[in-house]
């Protein structure tokens, strides 16, 4: 198993998969497909943790992979899918920028990240490519949060950003003790639930989840 992971450079492939699923958020037109993109993103992340677990042979990585899969691939997609189904509004994403333009901007972001981090940063983790990819994932999901107007897409962008942060932390430090990861997952789950409640309330008060209506509080 270890030689297979080493020879096929499986870790690099999986992290490329994480980058591509994040990039696909720019092209998707329906909210359901955004949730599916998040599902695949988290699946690749869990598989990456699993392959590192085989490489290092430590048991708590297996638990971390299992926990990651349970929370991010099962609980959160089902919860968000239920909210989307209950909202009964138009399921189109309606971005501020056209899909092709946002794809171009994401490509520029990836180029900037690769040119900025290629020199001068000594990476201590398991692969020298993963840090660039995770920073690119964070920046692209920030761009998605900025450029979409639906409340749900902002939540999904936040979740993608969390995946990128997790990837960056994991690639640099080989993960944290299990109890701390449990705490992080619990926090994240509570945050998603609270955001879901807010989405439903925004829908009820403003009769749509369009965040253009939230303009009365300005600094």
């Amino acid at each position: 198993m270890n030689t297979f992971i080493d020879f096929s450079s499986l870790i690099d492939f999986l992290s490329i998969g994480i980058l591509l699923t994040t990039l696909s958020m720019n092209g998707l037109k329906r909210l359901e497909s955004c949730v599916k993109a998040y599902f695949f993103n988290s699946l690749f992340l869990s598989l990456l943790i699993l392959s590192v677990a085989f490489l290092k042979g430590e048991t708590h990585f297996f638990f971390a992979a299992l926990l990651n899969f349970a929370v991010k691939c099962i609980v959160i997609p089902i919860f968000i899918g239920k909210i989307i189904k209950d909202m009964k509004v138009t399921h189109d994403v309606e971005p501020f920028l056209s899909n092709s333009l946002s794809l171009v901007i994401s490509g520029i972001l990836i180029a900037i990240v690769y040119s900025a981090i290629s020199k001068g940063v000594y990476v201590t983790g398991f692969s020298k490519n993963v840090l660039q990819i995770s920073v690119a994932v964070i920046l692209i999901s920030l761009f998605i949060i900025i450029s979409r107007r639906k409340a749900i897409t902002q939540v999904i962008g936040l979740l993608f950003m969390e995946n990128g942060l997790f990837l960056a932390g994991f690639s640099l430090t080989y993960g944290m003790p299990l109890i701390i990861e449990l705490g992080v997952f619990f926090d994240m789950l509570m945050g998603v639930i609270i955001l879901g409640i807010f989405v439903v309330q925004i829908k009820r008060i403003f009769t749509s989840t369009d965040l253009d209506h939230l303009t009365r509080l300005k600094g």
Partner: protein
């Protein structure tokens, strides 16, 4: 050390089950005064003797300083909220359920704020910071059925 975290939590849970709005406020104020007393003992110990380390807790002079600020502000907030919420209740803007939830969340928030400064472990500190965000978001959005702006403020707060 852990008593400092447990006092606000217990106060919040007690407040959640009391059916009288004014009484809840007074109990919460009393809880924060007790908390201030215990914190004063710890802080004076830290300042006069040396930094205290107990399990995952570690309090030195700097965290003692910040703990003093947190506890002082929580005393002010609980004292002020008694009359404020009574006024809101008379105006019909809140009801008993919201007041109970408000004091539960407020006390949980005080507890998590103290946990941030008292812990020794960087990752646990990060979890506690996340917990303060997650607890204060519903605190901002509380009473959204009567106010449109509360939900907007809470959304902008949690996204930023």
């Amino acid at each position: 050390m852990i008593t400092l975290l447990l006092i606000p939590l217990v106060t919040g849970i007690v407040c959640f089950f009391i059916p009288k709005p004014k009484l809840i406020g007074y109990i919460s104020f009393l809880g924060s005064l007790v908390l201030a007393g215990f914190t004063a003992v710890t802080i004076s110990n830290v300042f006069s003797v040396q930094a205290v380390k107990e399990g995952i807790f570690y309090v030195d002079a700097l965290s003692g300083y910040i703990m003093a600020i947190v506890v002082f502000l929580s005393c002010l907030a609980t004292a002020y909220s008694i009359e404020y919420l009574a006024h809101e209740l008379d105006a019909g803007l809140t009801d008993l359920k919201y007041i109970q939830r408000f004091y539960l969340l407020l006390n949980a928030f005080i507890s998590s704020m103290l946990f941030v400064v008292m812990t020794d472990n960087l990752a646990i500190m990060w979890i506690a910071i996340e917990a303060t965000t997650i607890i204060s978001a519903p605190l901002i959005g509380l009473g959204f059925s009567k106010r449109d702006l509360a939900i907007e403020a809470a959304w902008k707060y949690i996204i930023l």
